[in-house]
Symmetry: C2
Subunit: 194 residues, 2 copies
């Protein structure tokens, strides 16, 4: 078995000696010999490193939102999605973009309506549809928070050399493509529009 429990924080101290031996255990074109338990050690390490970085950033952003704005990341995220949609956005679309379940949003939107940041309107065309939109107050609030949000990220990423930054952006784009393809092939090859 693979030992993958390297503490998410120690991943750069861990000795990387897995050595992909699982080239391909095929005798001919049809018979697989050993059902080789390919280790995927590199994959796990990559994932843990990615996860560590996003957790660190996420926790800091959460902390700051709470301390400076007495708010939360989901609230900020939702307003951020709405910020460009000047005519509001349908709840389902919000759900897809934020990659969270619709059931989740019901309560979140409730709270944001209660605090005056967004409005919720039933679509006249289709009475099933809820349209969520920023209020003026919500927009003002978001503008302030977004500026600080940028500052925090700037601070966190300040020591990343430009070279690494560029290659990170490029590699993450490739990674995302790979993930999407992986999701498509594994699960139904249904149309991915999100």
């Amino acid at each position: 078995m693979e030992r993958e429990a390297e503490s998410r924080d120690m991943d750069d101290q861990v000795d990387d000696q897995v050595g992909d031996q699982a080239a391909d255990d095929w005798l001919d074109g049809e018979t697989k010999v050993v059902e080789a338990p390919a280790h995927h050690g590199d994959d796990v390490r990559l994932w843990l490193r990615l996860l560590t970085c996003s957790t660190l950033v996420e926790n800091e952003v959460r902390r700051r939102l709470r301390e400076e704005f007495d708010s939360t990341l989901p609230r900020f995220d939702l307003l951020a999605q709405l910020e460009r949609a000047h005519d509001g956005m349908v709840l389902g679309e919000l759900s897809r973009r934020m990659m969270v379940s619709a059931g989740n949003l019901t309560a979140l939107v409730d709270r944001l309506v209660a605090s005056g940041h967004v409005s919720r309107t039933t679509s006249p065309a289709d009475r099933r549809v809820q349209i969520i939109a920023l209020t003026d107050f919500g927009r003002e609030w978001f503008d302030k928070a977004a500026e600080r949000h940028g500052d925090w990220l700037g601070m966190l990423f300040a020591d990343l050399p430009p070279r690494e930054r560029a290659s990170l952006m490029a590699a993450l784009a490739k990674l995302k493509q790979s993930i999407r393809r992986g999701l498509d092939s594994a699960n139904g090859a249904g149309s991915r529009r999100d």
Copy 2:
């Protein structure tokens, strides 16, 4: 204000025309002129891209853990931490490694004790301390789950070209360093041992 609400999913379609004009608004070595609201557009884009990737992976791993093992990511994470600690691990250490609050773990450990995956023992040396350890059953379970976990990641990352993979690993290491430094300088410069 910066417009940063590019849907986390559309970030590679978005036209990147921010154009870092905020070089440095200094007249001499002492006086900052405009308190320039540096946009940090690149920082935000980098963050959103990172976040999208980890959310996609995380959601898929959660889904699979639930469907194939009727389990959750926090449960898996906790067992993964324990897997290497053959004499168990103190709850506080677990909390630090998993980057979650201790209060959170109390209930999570309760459930894992109830399901027979881990044991919880009060340290004889210090009766405040709780030692959490894998049971045999927990270890067997984890071994199976970890193998599948590796498979899933292998599938998701399969289409990532080796070149990008290498530069991603390297760049993420740098990124993590930058984040850590950012956290240290912003908040207290207290000793970071985690």
